[in-house]
Symmetry: C2
Subunit: 243 residues, 2 copies
């Protein structure tokens, strides 16, 4: 498998990521251990495992979830290209969540045990890591706000809007539509709804003429309309760091 050097990473060309200096990029390159390629539906990290590495999702979609004893699965957040994963892990502690791919995925792997190098050699990147961790919390915040305070229609609308915006920022939206490898079961598990009710609610949303899904691609007809439905409060977006 040929691995592109970090300096030529296609993600880095996107506007949504902040510019790194060439020094930083070559440090990142040296910090990067390898790449992992996963086909769709595979587990990158098992719930309950220890000593997890750090990852950047280079391509594909994935999600982070937690299984409850009652058999339910709560999806904590969806992971899109450029997202950094693993900071929530604590060395030597059992993880309370797992990570699974939705499509074929490529992850860049950074060894957890060398993380202090980042802070001691590139303070700016250290700050970026903090920023990424904090930003991760904001996304979970949004999900909690949805699940805790909105009804089914609004929750799903909210999820679609937020995925649309995230997909859009990395250039995956073409003609108001984008690849959507998420099943209704995923939506249900992420929004704390049953599969059946999720299905009926999405049918209703479709009636509103707002979205339609055909072979793994979703088209959002009117972002305004769906955002109004969700009482969408826009998440502040700024350029984000990429490791």
């Amino acid at each position: 498998m040929r691995i592109t050097p970090c300096s030529e990473c296609s993600l880095r060309k996107l506007e949504c990521f902040s510019k790194a200096t060439s020094d930083e990029i070559s440090f990142i390159q040296s910090y990067k251990k390898t790449e992992i390629k996963l086909s769709a539906g595979k587990t990158l990290v098992h719930q309950g495992s220890r000593n997890v590495e750090l990852y950047t999702l280079k391509s594909g979609w994935a999600f982070r979830y937690s299984l409850l004893e009652n058999g339910k699965r709560q999806i904590l957040n969806f992971i899109l290209p450029g997202d950094f994963i693993g900071l929530q892990a604590e060395l030597d502690k059992e993880l309370n969540y797992g990570i699974e791919s939705l499509t074929e995925c490529v992850f860049c792997v950074f060894p957890q045990d060398r993380i202090m190098d980042v802070y001691s050699q590139y303070p700016t990147l250290g700050y970026d890591l903090t920023w990424l961790a904090a930003h991760g919390e904001l996304i979970v915040d949004e999900n909690l706000i949805s699940v805790g305070g909105r009804n089914a229609l609004q929750r799903i609308a909210m999820l679609l809007v937020s995925l649309y915006k995230r997909a859009s920022s990395i250039g995956e939206v073409v003609d108001e539509s984008f690849n959507f490898p998420i099943t209704q079961q995923h939506i249900a598990d992420s929004m704390g709804l049953s599969l059946v009710h999720t299905n009926k609610t999405m049918a209703k949303l479709k009636l509103y003429g707002v979205q339609e899904i055909t072979n793994n691609r979703i088209k959002i007809r009117s972002l305004d309309k769906i955002a109004r439905l969700a009482e969408y409060y826009s998440l502040p977006l700024r350029n984000r760091p990429l490791l």
Copy 2:
């Protein structure tokens, strides 16, 4: 108002915090701008404000919340002594949440605009900040898991267990009981339940002989029992950094 020097901070004597070197402590001292004292029920940070500082809660309890357009308030997490606040903020962006005190509180204030000093001068503290941000996400994760996947009884049980553990780790639990400045409305808003149903559920919990509340103090009779009820999955605890 007399301000204790960081080196004599009473929190620092607690076992639950990792040890800092005296160098680090004096740096923290110099980074600290001032202290803010708030009486109960006051707002430290308004939702929608910008340019927020960073804070450590030195004493008292507080909480972080977000108001929805439909009038609901979602409590994102409760804040206990030693917790660090404000990393979720992004400079110059509107905050999507506010912070309010539950009791009289004292906050240590650290200027946002000097945060890079931490990373450039004390890499280890920089790493600690990342850890704190990531740990904050874990707590929100737990709430999302509860709200998304558990019923009312379990959610409240879960909340009580987790508050018990957190209070216990900072030495606030005496004889299985601790100060509990949280109203049923707070519990409702944090667990995505209505006030009425929260009340009825707590009455049921009381019947289980599990907890009782008298003048702002809660007594947990059997942590085991209530934890089993909640299908509690213990959050990994390690010593955490204190800034």
